[in-house]
């Protein structure tokens, strides 16, 4: 793709699940902010600021559109990353409204640790739910009465999706609970899973969505009633007296400020808008190319009896280990061949190490930037190493 023409010949980037590559238009949008309308957003009247505000507001709308949610019910706030977003919500939830906190076994440490800390702080019971091979949760097994449920809708090591996400959200809501979705891994390549789902909050990282480093919280407006004001400050109020303040978030127009204390990363937000525009303009062929690439690579790896796949099916994100071979060493060897891929437990220590008892893994996570020649190269190098 020409948007990734800065990739050198023979350079293969396979770590999109951590940081996706940014298309040129995103880089240009950020540069444009810094060179054309650098400003203090959402509080100034000068023209550069007005331009920034327009682009930031447009980005909020694009985010809602991307996940198929309506602005009258949901608000988009920006933060640092998924972990930060989840913690921002959990740290401000009123504990007396809930009975317990629930998460699942295949989670990234982002929700896994945050729910632990939430449980420790509030004294509420914490429950870790089992995920089926297809990624779904058997909702009949668990009691969701007044539960805070924090789960991903796509895993970060094999991409398995929360297939029954709609059923889960409905069941939890019926039981007076809330659902916070970690959509960090779903946003880039399987955001459709969120369409038609109305969880209480969706947290994701823009840097896994071809956008700059940025966190996003999409949240239902009624979540505000369930929260205390625990993280407040600049840019969040309409009025302040000696001992009181009036939050701007009380009004729908500035509801996003509820999670946006202090100045925001305006350039990055503008960049996210550009990334969403770019994604909207990607073609069917681009996606077919991605599918062909990851299927090809998955089948190649799956076909080797020395390779142990964690995946149960092909996905742009795939993890594996090779008999008798240290994955970190394999990662270093691939790096010498300009193949960039992640090794370790990918912040999913609990499931990969303690539940499955696997050694550190190798993860290939593909993106729209990958070319068929990338896959050919990976196969050629792996061939040399494995056989």
């Amino acid at each position: 793709m020409k948007e990734f023409d800065y990739l050198g010949e023979g350079e293969v980037y396979l770590d999109g699940a951590c940081q996706s590559l940014r298309p040129r238009c995103v880089i240009d949008a950020i540069n444009n902010y810094y060179t054309e309308h650098n400003s203090c957003g959402e509080r100034v009247k000068y023209k550069w600021g007005v331009e920034t505000d327009e682009k930031v507001e447009a980005t909020r709308e694009k985010v809602l559109k991307y996940v198929g949610l309506k602005g009258r019910k949901y608000t988009v706030s920006f933060t640092l990353n998924t972990t930060y977003g989840i913690n921002l919500i959990l740290s401000q939830l009123k504990p007396k409204l809930f009975n317990k906190v629930m998460t699942s076994e295949i989670e990234h440490n982002s929700p896994f640790l945050a729910t632990m800390a939430f449980s420790e702080r509030t004294g509420l019971k914490r429950e870790v739910m089992k995920r089926e091979e297809d990624g779904s949760i058997d909702v009949d097994v668990y009691n969701f009465k007044k539960a805070v449920v924090v789960v991903n809708c796509a895993s970060n090591f094999d991409g398995r999706k929360l297939l029954n996400i709609k059923e889960l959200v409905k069941t939890v809501h019926k039981a007076d609970g809330i659902v916070i979705i970690d959509a960090a891994q779903a946003m880039a390549h399987s955001s459709e899973i969120l369409h038609g789902v109305e969880p209480d909050a969706i947290c994701f990282s823009a840097h896994k969505l071809y956008a700059p480093s940025l966190g996003v919280i999409i949240w239902r407006d009624d979540l505000m009633e369930k929260m205390i004001n625990g993280f407040v400050g600049g840019g969040m109020v309409d009025d302040v007296t000696k001992d009181s303040y009036l939050l701007s978030a009380e009004g729908k127009e500035h509801r996003y400020t509820r999670f946006e204390s202090g100045l925001q990363a305006w350039g990055e937000i503008v960049g996210l808008g550009a990334a969403l525009d770019w994604l909207e303009h990607t073609t069917k062929k681009d996606w077919q190319n991605l599918e062909k690439n990851y299927t090809d690579l998955y089948e190649y790896l799956h076909g080797s009896n020395k390779v142990h796949m964690v995946n149960h099916e092909a996905n742009p994100t795939m993890s594996f280990y090779i008999d008798g071979m240290d994955s970190h060493l394999l990662g270093s060897a691939l790096s010498r061949e300009n193949i960039m891929a992640r090794t370790g437990y990918f912040c999913a220590h609990y499931y990969l190490d303690h539940v499955l008892g696997l050694p550190p893994l190798m993860r290939f996570s593909l993106g729209l930037h990958n070319r068929p020649s990338d896959i050919a190269k990976v196969k050629k190098v792996m061939e040399k190493i494995i056989y």
Binding site: D326, L329, S332, A333, E337, K384
Partner: protein
């Protein structure tokens, strides 16, 4: 040597990193970072925590990643070699640290960084050491390494002990004939063949130490673990000193004074002649010639010769040996007990 080697290993690592940091700050920082990472991983492992990837793995991966691409088959055997090497490095590093600590502790508690052979420690005081037997194999050496820790810890309480010269029932020779009231009592253990004792004696004599203290001289012939005398003629000198003393109090002082201060016709100090050149018969003859000069006639000498062979003299020597080696656990000569403390090593003019 062992303790020096340990110091050298530790110092080399420190100097290496410090040196590089001065001349190539970037590389120095990288080494420091690697050391911190290594330490961090070690510290985690010590606390039985997981260390997913540590310094060793980084080094291993750097070395083996090249091999993996060119000769994948070599990776496994090379990996084993690196593992073994890393174990050796860890063992050597731990040994170096522990030996360095042991040597410092020994230096403080025993006055020498070498527990077995105190005179071999250049950091300690100048002494003629009472050496233990050298270990004959690796197992003995390893066992000795551990028992030395015990000896050091056993000696630590003695560092805080108050010594009283009169508490030890030595067989001694009073330096000034009779003890002078009001002067402090000092015990001075020496070996007639020990050069450090000779220099100490001269220093003491020069500053009038023997006039300002009631000095109890304890002649002692150092023996090794096999019972061999460190200085071959020291035993006969000590025997004669006790024998003469039995006949005439203070008469033996002339023997030791001549050995430590007089020169022979060969322009050598008598101590050197006794140690290196005289046979036992020649040493005996020389001592008797000095006794004759000091007024003993043939009859007196005959009597002395008889006493020299008395078991009582051997008993006196053995009693002193027991106090020195077992009660006081002295490892180096000269040793003095004065002012409530024990002082081992050369007595300098300034003292």
């Amino acid at each position: 040597m062992v303790c020096i080697a340990a110091f050298i290993i530790l110092a080399l690592i420190g100097v290496f990193v410090a040196g590089i940091s001065i001349f190539k700050p970037k590389i120095g920082k990288a080494y420091l970072k690697a050391m911190k990472k290594a330490w961090g991983c070690l510290w985690k492992k010590v606390r039985l925590q997981k260390c997913e990837t540590g310094f060793k793995d980084d080094v291993k991966n750097t070395l083996l990643s090249r091999v993996m691409l060119k000769h994948p088959g070599w990776v496994k055997p090379l990996s084993i070699v690196i593992e073994v090497l890393s174990i050796v490095i860890v063992v050597v590093a731990v040994w170096a640290i522990l030996t360095a600590i042991k040597s410092l502790l020994a230096l403080w508690a025993l006055g020498s960084c070498n527990v077995t052979k105190p005179s071999a420690c250049s950091l300690g005081a100048e002494v003629c050491s009472i050496d233990e037997s050298e270990p004959s194999n690796v197992f003995e050496a390893t066992g000795r390494w551990f028992t030395e820790w015990g000896e050091i810890f056993e000696a630590i309480p003695d560092k805080f002990k108050t010594y009283n010269a009169e508490d030890y029932k030595f067989n001694y020779i009073e330096m000034s004939g009779d003890e002078v009231e009001g002067l402090d009592v000092v015990v001075d253990i020496f070996d007639p063949g020990c050069s450090v004792c000779m220099v100490s004696y001269r220093n003491q004599k020069n500053v009038g130490f023997f006039d300002s203290h009631n000095v109890r001289l304890v002649p002692f012939a150092i023996q090794d673990a096999n019972g061999e005398y460190k200085f071959p003629n020291s035993e006969i000198v000590v025997r004669y000193m006790f024998a003469v003393e039995q006949l005439k109090s203070g008469a033996s002082l002339g023997i030791i004074d001549r050995i430590f201060t007089n020169k022979s016709s060969n322009d050598l100090y008598y101590q050197q002649e006794f140690n290196d050149n005289y046979s036992r018969e020649e040493a005996t003859k020389k001592i008797e010639s000095w006794l004759r000069e000091d007024g003993f006639d043939d009859k007196g000498l005959k009597e002395i010769r008889k006493i020299v062979d008395y078991p009582e003299v051997a008993d006196k020597m053995n009693e002193n040996k027991d106090i020195i080696e077992n009660q006081l656990k002295v490892r180096g000569i000269p040793t003095m007990i004065m002012d409530g403390k024990r002082h081992t090593g050369l007595w300098k003019d300034s003292e």
